[in-house]
């Protein structure tokens, strides 16, 4: 049964939509220190939806600027190029993820809500645990489930078998692998390879359900792994598979995460998450 779908799944990855041209162009500009905020603004302003979405997120309670961020130029100055890049990507993902995902039974918009929720939760975890490294957990978290977009229709076709496998004490992602020969984490990593994303982000997406199986253990990976399960528990983006995932004990130990931290993070994230949703 395994190989019945594999060929089609990987073909699907090849034909997966690319990041919008304007976004990839701006990514390059944000990496280039010589490019001014004005030049970036000039590039984005032709895409009114993109600008509006970025500004809406920049003005959300999550970032908590006292004055209104009125332009993209101001956003770059106030938040820094890196943050604007994250919001730009979030806005592009909103367009790509904003559809019903069959197989996982996620209604339209729910995958994006879940992705933003895991990003915010991951950042709250960095704060709670007082890590001061600048790893881009936001971006990795935002993209962790992108494989579901390409795998959903195959999951739908085989949902009976996947659920039967999952009943044998397997997580949903393990059951996907048994029945389909691959899983949404691997497919997600393949898509990001096509998009030429950095290796640490690809590694996090690839192993977000099984951090101990990665050859490149990283804090970013452990954080996204835990933040994802916590968001599913809160019910943001939990679809057909419910809570059929397991938390890796060693990841918790590496992070030094305790019960008090977990519930404190959960209590603080909800409001931030709601404030970031683009309608």
């Amino acid at each position: 049964m395994k190989n019945k779908h594999l060929h089609k799944i990987f073909a699907n990855v090849k034909s997966f939509p690319s990041i919008p041209f304007v976004a990839s162009k701006i990514f390059g500009m944000l990496d280039d220190e010589d490019v001014s905020a004005e030049e970036i603004e000039k590039e984005v302003k032709y895409d009114a939806g993109l600008t509006a979405n970025i500004l809406k997120m920049a003005n959300s309670a999550y970032f908590g600027f006292p004055a209104k961020v009125g332009s993209l130029k101001q956003a770059v100055v106030l938040m820094g190029a890196n943050r604007v890049k994250q919001l730009l990507l979030a806005s592009c993902m909103n367009a790509i993820m904003d559809k019903e995902i069959e197989g996982y039974d996620l209604p339209s918009g729910e995958l994006w809500r879940h992705s933003i929720a895991v990003s915010v939760t991951a950042e709250e975890m960095v704060k709670e645990l007082k890590f001061n490294d600048s790893e881009d957990v936001f971006t990795a978290a935002l993209l962790h489930d992108i494989g579901k977009l390409a795998l959903g229709r195959f999951v739908k076709d085989e949902i009976k078998e996947i659920e039967e496998e999952s009943l044998k004490s397997k997580s949903f992602v393990e059951a996907e692998r048994v029945v389909l020969g691959t899983d949404h984490a691997e497919v997600g990593a393949l898509i990001l390879k096509e998009w030429a994303f950095p290796d640490d982000i690809i590694n996090t997406v690839r192993w977000h359900h099984a951090p101990d199986e990665s050859e490149n253990s990283s804090r970013m990976l452990d954080i996204v792994h835990v933040a994802n399960v916590l968001c599913l528990m809160i019910g943001i983006g939990s679809g057909r598979e419910g809570l059929r995932y397991e938390v890796t004990q060693s990841a918790l130990e590496r992070l030094g995460l305790k019960l008090g931290h977990l519930e404190s993070i959960a209590s603080r994230t909800l409001h931030s998450i709601e404030s970031l949703f683009i309608e």
């Binding site: 039974d105 659920e163 004490s169 997580s171 399960v229 599913l232 528990m233 809160i234 019910g235 943001i236 939990s238 679809g239 057909r240 419910g242 809570l243 059929r244 995932y245 397991e246 938390v247 004990q249 918790l252 995460l257 305790k258 019960l259 008090g260 977990l262 519930e263 404190s264 959960a266 209590s267 603080r268 909800l270 709601e274």
Partner: protein, 157 residues
């Protein structure tokens, strides 16, 4: 009227209203109904104990079981519901797979609920609790009927 209760929220309804909540994972869904007054409420609480974040609990008592449940009952009593007629049903409180106790927030939500109810001599009439599933609840305030949906299945609570 149809009301949708989001995470960390509560809605009251009267005869003819429908109260819905989606995606109860480890959260508690508590449905309380007075069949004579035909008034009911649905609480969707996320965490067991408010002590973890008192500031949030003051802002939003429905986020926590220990502050949300008493407030739900208080408001129902103020609307004329009577304790002896209350029908109490519970759903949700799931947990991820595995034995990690830290992540069993669902179990802790349920334990705090049971303690609160027993302290007030109240009993749960029926429940659909635990496991690794995500549940949605449809609470019809006219009839008191409660439908739980999960992964393509449907049961009446």
């Amino acid at each position: 009227m149809e009301y949708v209760v989001s995470v960390g929220d509560m809605k009251l309804g009267k005869e003819g209203d429908l109260i819905i909540t989606h995606a109860l994972g480890s959260c508690l869904g508590l449905m309380v109904y007075d069949p004579v007054a035909k008034i009911g409420g649905l609480l969707h609480a996320m965490l067991p104990i408010s002590r973890i974040n008192m500031e949030k609990a003051r802002e939003n008592p429905y986020m926590f079981v220990d502050t949300g449940v008493p407030l739900l009952f208080k408001l129902l009593y103020e609307m004329g519901c009577q304790k002896k007629r209350m029908i109490i049903k519970a759903a949700g409180c799931g947990n991820p797979m595995g034995n990690n106790e830290m992540f069993k927030i669902g179990n802790r939500n349920y334990t705090v609920l049971k303690k609160l109810l027993s302290k007030n001599s109240l009993l749960i009439e029926s429940e659909n609790i635990g496991g690794t599933i995500s549940r949605s609840v449809n609470f019809n305030i006219l009839t008191g009927s409660i439908i739980i949906r999960s992964a393509g299945t449907e049961i009446e609570l």
